[in-house]
Amino acid sequence: MAQEAAAVIPARLAPRVDEHELIRAVQRGDQNAFEALVRSYDQNVLGMAFNLLRCEEDARDVYQEAFLRVYRHIHSFRFDCSFHTWLYRIVTNLCLDCLRKRKIRKEEPAVVETAEGPLDRTYSVEEERAAADPERNLCNAQLAGRIHLALAALTPRERTVFELRHYQGLRLKAIGEMLNTSEEAAKNCLFRATQKMRTVLGDFS
């Protein structure tokens, strides 16, 4: 099954010779190689965790736990799937666990209602860039707030599939393998997610 997953990963994610050497060096206990391997992937891992969880603390925790698991279990990595698939399976499962725990705890939402409509409290990066244009900043935050509400209407699984397909650009077959399910189930999940969000957001202009 893992080999099938590797087969559907686009060429950009195919294992590369230099990466194989790097992983073998990590398996021999080379700390510098581990740091180089982390640097190759960690911006994307952190970006995905932050966009999916929209909480800095949770994204930090996922980052630490994901790479610590890589560090602890790299010796069991046998190159029967790409390192990218292996790493993202770890990250995806950690994010899913976090989303599920949140649903149970019903934590404070990242979106707050204001007189101008819902605002996304995590919307910080664009704020800096748009600081010179407060009106545009407000519009962006409102847009982010509406979309955040739409995303919050999804189940953890739907949210994760949407993240992996829309933001990470992974094919549904690979997503199915990552989540230990079929391509068809991932497709249905994505379909339900987009339908729900269209219902929440209505026509968007």
Binding site: R12, R16, G29, N32, E35, N51, F67, S124, K187, L190
Partner: protein, 297 residues
């Protein structure tokens, strides 16, 4: 396909996840149905809105996370690492095993009581070098010989205007062993594509780097120079050969910024061969706006 079926299929169509046959049916229907084309436009606007609402961590968060992670892993190697290192030691040629083991015990004994830095074996006036033991062997005189690979780390600070900083960043942008380093270097250089050396480095990365993240970052850096002849000359090759859809999406957006007649042939060719729905639709709409036929005959 009727309108209901097409509307249900649009989400997967936009992600390029429909089987080829269904995709053709959707396109045939869209061609003759303005209402479904409107629905498609609405879904595309929704996609763009999702892209704009992407939450991005603050820039220094990744450095903080790395710092914490590297402190944790350097301080306490996992038991598998320790086991693996021990296993590696058993691969020493059997004739050297007893001597090697003795030597290692001696090294361990000494290193536990006499840190290398303080012993004078390593001379590190300012900053201790990172050392990796390559081999150990008993010395004929009764001592031990140890080969160390040393790397000394130095931190340099300076402005992007500084020629040395720029040169180092250009070097780092070409470091084939470390894709993360290339991404970060190009990210820092990307606002300087007006500079010839930087533009050449970005072009090289956008067209030849093996890592799609690096290619995408380099192409983003060239966005402001989309009308520069060298950049325009590189875009058709990227559209034809790059296997990453995000790179191709950015390339088509850059190419159609300047709509001259020379791109019509390329765009017509792309309609037939491009597998990404967004790129295909973008090409079609540009051709229609340029009053050119969508296909070649």
């Amino acid at each position: 396909m009727n309108c209901t079926e097409v509307l249900d299929a649009l989400a997967l169509y936009l992600y390029g996840e429909l089987p080829p046959r269904a995709e053709e049916e959707v396109e045939a229907h869209l061609h003759g149905c303005p209402a479904c084309r409107d629905a498609l436009d609405a879904q595309q606007r929704l996609h763009h809105a999702f892209d704009r609402a992407r939450a991005v961590p603050r820039p220094d968060l990744v450095a903080e996370c790395r710092g914490e992670l590297f402190r944790r892993t350097a301080a306490r190697p996992g038991w598998r690492q320790r086991l693996a290192r021990a296993w590696d030691l058993t691969r020493v040629r059997w004739v050297l095993r007893p001597a090697g083991a003795l030597a290692l015990v001696a090294v361990g004994f000494l290193s536990a009581r006499l840190p290398l830095r303080d012993s004078g074996l390593l001379r590190a006036p300012a900053e201790p070098p990172v050392a990796t033991v390559r081999w150990v062997e008993p010395d004929p005189s009764g001592g031990v010989r140890i080969a160390l690979d040393e790397t000394r780390r130095r931190v340099i600070r300076g402005s992007l205007e500084d020629r040395l900083i720029e040169k180092l960043l250009l070097e780092a942008a070409r470091d084939q062993a470390n894709a993360g380093l290339r991404v970060e270097s190009i990210d820092l250089l990307k606002d300087r594509s007006g500079n010839d050396d930087v533009r050449q480095a970005l072009l090289q990365a956008a067209t030849h780097d093996r890592n799609p993240g690096v290619r995408l970052k380099a192409l983003e850096g060239l966005k402001g120079m989309a009308s520069h002849p060298e950049v325009r000359a590189a875009l058709p090759g990227i559209l034809e050969r790059d296997d990453n859809e995000n790179v191709r999406i950015l390339a088509i957006d850059m190419l159609v910024q300047n709509r001259d007649e020379q791109i019509v042939g390329l765009l017509q060719g792309l309609v037939g061969q491009e597998e990404n729905s967004y790129v295909r639709m973008r090409v079609r709409s540009v051709l229609e706006e340029m009053k050119a036929s969508v296909g070649t005959f």
